[in-house]
């Protein structure tokens, strides 16, 4: 499923990196420890987190992730947003918490 489709179906805001909306999502990974994401996320994963530091985009790029979802209404730091645009990896926003968005996303990706 494409990032664009997930964003539409789950009502996520496209904050940045709109050029990457055609990225294909394989599965998801949820963690707020960037060291853990670096070790365990798989290529194509959509990453659910509350971290807003620019290192998020460096790791998303390194791991070839499809997009990042920021939970609970968090917004990226300006340099994270900038890097999202440069790397064409979308940052999507939701006001929901990690548990809720994970559940919805899990069901959607496993349909």
């Amino acid at each position: 499923m494409k990032v664009k489709e997930v964003a539409e179906k789950l009502g996520l805001t496209v904050i940045s990196g709109a050029n990457g909306l055609e990225n294909e999502i394989s599965m998801g990974y949820s963690s707020d420890l960037l060291s853990d994401v670096m070790g365990s996320a798989q290529s194509g994963d959509i990453w659910i987190t509350l971290q807003t530091h620019k290192n998020v985009m460096a790791i998303a790029s390194l791991k070839d992730l499809s997009a990042v979802i920021l939970v609970k209404g968090f917004t990226p730091d300006p340099d994270m947003e900038e890097q999202s645009n440069e790397e064409n990896i979308p940052v999507l926003g939701t006001t929901e918490d990690t548990f809720t968005i994970n559940g919805k996303l899990y069901n959607l990706l496993n349909q």
């Binding site: 420890l33 960037l34 060291s35 994401v37 670096m38 971290q51 807003t52 530091h53 620019k54 290192n55 460096a58 790791i59 730091d77």
Partner: protein, 245 residues
């Protein structure tokens, strides 16, 4: 130049995880026993114990660098040091403003008390000090530097509450005056993983929460005297001042 033995990361009774034995008097006695010239007082998210430790240490001829171990929004622990009581108070106001209003539970976390030189309790902090403050690591580094302070990410190789655990790697453009490593890794092995940090200053300290651990690890500062300006020069490695670990 002289070489000074410094343990720059010491908690007091004010930190919830700090032993009740960590009074100004006991800290200074232990530092004397270990022949430490300079101690850094770095409680979690509070500078309120610095004054009484400074008073007690001055009597014993030990220098105190007044500081704090801040928990950033990302839950990265960072040390900061300030030159004067006035500046320290300004930074305390910043901490008070951004520390979330979560009450301490003494059964779970321990007591958070400030004691004077005679070990009388003069203040109890009601808010939990180990919470993350509502400011990012970059915002905190900027505020510390605006006040002329020194900013040092703590135990950066640790698997929790560190720059590397929380943010995956050390942001190359982070404005840090030094980085603290633990005993668990040599500087050489750390630099193998993060070769872009070659040339940066690394320090090692005890991170003591109980008296007997004070001085277990230390940093040697080669400088003219123990003033804050000399400390800053030693961290920067300028004018013949340097850090030896």
């Amino acid at each position: 130049m002289k070489e000074y033995k410094a343990d720059l990361h010491i908690h007091t009774v004010l930190s919830p995880c700090g032993s009740l034995e960590m009074s100004p008097r006991n800290i200074v006695q232990e530092a004397l026993k270990k022949k430490i010239d300079i101690i850094g007082i770095t409680d979690h998210n509070s500078t309120r114990q610095c004054a009484s430790v400074s008073k007690e240490a001055t009597k014993a001829g030990i220098t105190v660098y007044m500081g704090v171990e801040i928990t950033t929004k990302e839950e990265v622990h960072c040390l900061a040091f300030f030159e004067t009581f006035d500046i320290l108070d300004t930074f305390q106001q910043y901490l008070d403003k951004h520390l979330p209003d979560i009450k301490n539970n003494t059964d779970l976390f321990g007591y958070q008390v400030v004691v004077d030189e005679s070990e009388n309790i003069i203040y109890e902090e009601p808010r939990l000090l180990i919470s993350a403050i509502a400011q990012s690591i970059d915002q905190i580094a900027a505020e510390v530097h605006r006040l002329g302070g020194l900013f040092i990410p703590a135990h950066i190789n640790r698997p929790k509450y560190s720059l590397v655990s929380q943010l995956g790697f050390v942001p190359p453009d982070l404005k840090a005056d030094a980085f603290e490593l633990t005993k668990h890794i040599s500087t050489e092995d750390f630099l193998k993983k993060f070769s872009y940090l070659k040339g940066k200053t690394f320090i090692r300290n005890s991170d003591a929460h109980q008296p007997e651990l004070i001085g277990e690890r230390f940093t040697t500062l080669k400088m003219a005297d123990t003033s804050f300006a000399e400390f800053a020069k030693a961290l920067a490695g300028i004018d013949g001042r340097e850090v030896i670990v």
